[in-house]
Amino acid sequence: MNFDLDQDERALQSAIRDLCKGVFPMETVRGLESSGGISAETWQALEDAGVFSLRLPESEGGAGLGMTAAVIVFEELGRALVPGPLVGTHLAKTLGLNQARVTFANRNDLVISHLDSSDAVAVVDAEGIWLISQNAIAGEPVALPLDPLTPVSRVSSLPQGERVNEGADVSATRLEASALTAALLVGIASAETDLAVAYAKERQQFGRPIGSFQAVKHICADMLTRAEVARAAVYAAGVHLDGNGDGDTARAVTGAMLLASEAAFANGKACVQVHGGMGFTWEIDAHLYLKRAAALIALHGGADTYAEEMAAAL
């Protein structure tokens, strides 16, 4: 048993963190609002870094890595608030599909994210994995999406699409989608903690930093705690999906998604609160993390779904 990042995993983590710092500083991320969260250059940087292909074998241009590595990478993407159809594109690439960008949706969703900037929509349901070409979907863009960096479109119905899961394991793909989303969320939960702590150390009221008040620092301690427990669960989910777990894989993934959802959402709200009035302004980044968390959670079925799945395992 070794439940800590090994040397390669650490190197991967710091490489992707550096990439995010270089390509996705917050000014750049905010600047992507006008282009639906994506620019040709930033997307190319993600492709070049192997974010989408890292689980393909080296012979197919990938890095031959597993879900543990993917989870480490997606945590960093979440931390940097990298926008775009990251999970769908990663899974499509892993399944051997050729589309440049694929967004994930549920069959009955009335709102689909990243529709305009994707080549196709992937739907995973009980029967299989379906790919629906973007131009076959009549979508109406929403002017003011909840997360300004996650553009969404209204749709009334989705065509059935083409079944693409020949030889693929549908339930495994579902679990992988959850684990990668959970990784994004845990990165967000950590970033929210860092943001709140930094502000609480700096902001002065009553002649001292507000972070010296227990009423404030205890909020931050709870944020750290939620993020760290969720991180342990998310890493465990990745390890289980690679076949190196110590328990039931579906349960590990479901639990990770539930804890990461709770952590990112609760920490997002706490981060706004710690910022006081400034937290209610558009200018401060706190709302962007919270809104991304809320969008990711909603797009992946909502926390109640995962709580029900956990209960069903009891």
Binding site: N2, L5, R208, S212, A221, V239, A311
Partner: protein, 393 residues
């Protein structure tokens, strides 16, 4: 990262499991909660059985008679004993988990030889005389006074929350030996023989209805200077040294018990009638159970991270405080949910199905207070881990 156990760890698990299957049926019947002599006998019998099988002091270094097990083996041992329903460490708690490790780190060879083997064999029971009525979270403000008189310290004062004091042979005692020094610098750590004249033990009844804890009063209690561990006025450091023994396993037994309890509660919810169905038909009940299960699983994973870290670095990381804080909250939630599911069944506290759940509900209230309250844990995490400024004093 890899969560699988090594072959040698799996061998160790199989060995522990086989021994438990043989040993547990040989145990005498469990005594009632208020029969303290019988409880001491039961717990020390179990300790002797552990000793004979080579499992006493599982994480103690082998040079002091321990098994010198790795943190992973320690985790496996705690998991297996808890799952098998083996006795809790009970009255041996302080000796094995606090006083013993302190002696290993700080005592003279004579002191070690006098106590360590007897603790391991279950022949010596220890209690802890740290907290006072005026010194709880602010432990270093303790006032129980020790004045040197020839080759003895003369102790006057009062301790509280002394677990198992009425059945203990020795106590680890923190006393004030310098009233002028800053509060952390005037404390001394003494070995207290509980049969010394001038000690009065008054059991304290807790909200659980039982009396694990006592108040201990000291009137001119004479303790030989040779019972001092470490230097005079260096007792605060001596008392804190055991934290370096903590490798993330302190609450593993607790955690495994709670994981079992959440499964039992789910089963109970399916059985207990509510309206035309069962409590399980309530969306709120199911989802809260699901959340608690995920949170306990998360703590299991966190434990493995902490253990890996301590195996690598030799020191405990931040996992311990995070565990304590998060677990306390989850344990409260589990107890509260059990009370809601049980309804009036909770009022018959000694009956099935209430007994374990109601005990657990009350127990939760001690978990978030003992060994650093939830509020103190939040101070520790925010100040020492997140580097936030202290409150001005």
């Amino acid at each position: 990262m890899d969560l699988r156990y090594s072959e040698s760890d799996e061998r160790f698990r199989a060995e522990v499991r086989a021994w438990l299957a043989e040993a547990l049926p040989a145990l005498p019947p469990k005594p009632g909660p208020h029969d303290w002599d019988a409880r001491r006998a039961y717990d020390t019998t179990w300790q002797r059985m552990l000793f004979d099988a080579g499992y006493a002091g599982i994480n103690w270094p082998s040079e002091y008679g321990g098994r010198g097990a790795s943190p992973t083996e320690h985790l496996i041992f705690l998991e297996e004993t808890e799952r098998a329903g083996a006795p809790y460490v009970g009255v041996n708690f302080v000796g094995l988990l606090h006083a013993g490790p302190t002696l290993i780190a700080e005592a003279t060879e004579e002191q070690k030889a006098a106590h360590l083997p007897r603790i391991l064999r279950g022949e010596e029971v220890w209690c802890q005389g740290f907290s006072e009525p005026g010194a709880g979270s602010d432990l270093a403000s303790l006032k129980t006074r020790a004045v040197l008189d020839g080759d003895h310290y003369v102790v006057n004062g009062q301790k509280i929350w002394t677990s198992f004091a009425h059945v203990a042979d020795f106590g680890e005692l923190l006393v004030r030996t310098d009233t002028d020094a800053p509060k952390h610098k005037g404390i001394t750590w003494l070995i207290l023989p509980m049969d010394t004249p001038g000690i009065e033990v008054r059991p304290l009844r807790t909200i659980a209805g039982s009396s694990e804890f006592s108040e201990v009063f000291f009137t001119d209690v004479r303790i030989p200077v040779e019972n001092r561990v470490g230097a005079e006025n260096d007792g605060w450091r001596v008392a804190m040294v055991t934290f370096s023994f903590e490798r993330g396993t302190a609450f593993v037994g607790e955690l495994v018990r709670s994981m079992k309890l959440v499964e039992e509660l789910a089963e109970l919810a399916r059985k207990l009638p509510r309206g035309s169905g069962s409590a399980w038909d309530d969306d709120g009940v199911r989802r809260e159970l699901g959340l608690i299960a995920a949170q306990l699983d998360g703590l299991w994973h966190l434990t493995k991270r902490t253990i890996t870290e301590s195996e690598r670095t030799g020191v405990p990381g931040i996992g311990g405080s995070i565990f304590k804080l998060y677990y306390s909250e989850v344990r409260h939630h589990l107890g509260d949910l059990a009370m809601r599911i049980l309804g009036t069944a909770a009022l018959a506290t000694e009956d099935e199905p209430a007994v374990d759940h109601v005990r657990g509900w009350i127990h939760a209230m001690s978990i978030s207070i003992a060994a650093g309250t939830t509020q103190i844990q939040r101070n520790i995490l925010s100040e020492r881990v997140l580097g936030m400024p202290k409150e001005p004093s």
